[in-house]
């Protein structure tokens, strides 16, 4: 019997160890394409890069567009092109981390490839996963992708500014989310208007100072 994910899991453990001894937090952002991972990272860099040392790993199937959006904030960025691959793995993260000066970092954010299934299968050695969903994707994500929402430490519900234009039901979304993962924190915000962002950024600060 050969467990398929063992190799990835072993490397993830090594990555976790490497980050752990240097007190670096790593946060793995997972969402469908277009939910707002890069937008959220832009907000994080804009508001928090003055008070914590941030680096970003951008997983992208083919382009460097997201990496370039982040570079504007003067934080170190490493791009991993997966060449069509639908998820990042711990080996590519291990390689990417070599590009950073880990002794002078507090937190590494990883933007995973846009996909709600495969990225949840692959432990990258992160401290925790953060799931991002947007109101325009519908309210059925928790029940359709339970693994992701169980594995995630918290959820961001982005694009609340568009709620009025959708038939997104808060009630259904939250009820399903708490059925799949009771008590998981859900941050409702809009990267566009900035609504709800403060509370989320405070939570990130707490997580990075290891109080969560």
């Amino acid at each position: 019997m050969k467990r398929v994910l063992d190799r990835n899991r072993d490397m993830a453990a090594r990555v976790r160890e490497k980050l752990g001894v240097r007190n670096v937090i790593m946060i793995n952002l997972i969402s469908s394409p277009g939910a707002g991972k890069t937008s959220l990272l832009e907000k994080i860099c804009e508001h928090l890069s003055g008070e914590m040392r941030i680096a970003v790993i951008e997983g992208d199937v083919a382009t460097d567009r997201d990496a370039r959006r982040i570079e504007k904030y003067q934080v170190p960025v490493v791009l991993i092109n997966t060449d069509g691959g639908c998820h990042l793995d711990s080996n590519s993260i291990d390689m990417a981390l070599r590009e950073f000066d880990l002794d002078n970092l507090d937190v590494v954010f990883v933007e995973n490839v846009g996909n709600l299934v495969c990225p949840a299968h692959f432990d990258l050695g992160e401290t925790f996963k953060l799931a991002v969903v947007s109101t325009t994707e519908g309210d059925d994500k928790p029940i359709k992708y339970p693994m992701l929402f169980r594995e995630a430490m918290a959820v961001v519900l982005n694009k609340t500014d568009l709620l009025i234009h959708t038939d997104f039901s808060h009630e259904t979304f939250l009820a399903d989310m708490h059925q799949v993962n009771p008590g998981i924190p859900v941050f409702e915000l809009s990267c566009r208007t900035g609504d709800g962002l403060d509370e989320f950024l405070e939570w990130i600060k707490l997580s990075v100072s290891k109080k969560v």
Partner: protein, 108 residues
């Protein structure tokens, strides 16, 4: 995922001097939400031109089994209800159904 599976199949075949793979048995935990039909489809394209080109794929799924960390109740996941049927607690650990593994490879 299919790529990872294939890499292991080829390695195991190499280690055992198998030059033609006839059958592969794979077990998929339901927690992973891998659709068997999609997996089969990807497997069929991955096997082309390899020593597994005529291999028969046998997929088996395993239900998600959970244990309540409070009252220690063991139960199978039903209707995605992640709470203990005995005490209602949501503090659970997954004891089965979260792995994908290759059970056996046959060939000569």
């Amino acid at each position: 995922m299919v790529e990872d599976v294939f890499r292991i199949i080829m390695r195991v075949a190499g280690e055992n001097n198998i030059s033609r793979i006839d059958r592969v048995d794979i077990v998929i935990g339901e927690y992973l939400q891998i659709k068997p039909s999609l997996f089969e489809f990807a497997f069929e394209s991955a096997r082309e031109g390899t020593i597994a080109s005529a291999a028969c794929l046998n997929l088996e799924t395993r239900m998600v089994e959970l244990r309540c960390t409070g009252c220690r109740q063991l139960f199978l996941l039903k209707d995605l209800k992640y709470s203990c049927p005995r005490c209602g607690s949501g503090a659970l650990e997954i004891t089965d159904g979260r792995d994908i593994y290759i059970k056996s490879i046959e060939g000569e």
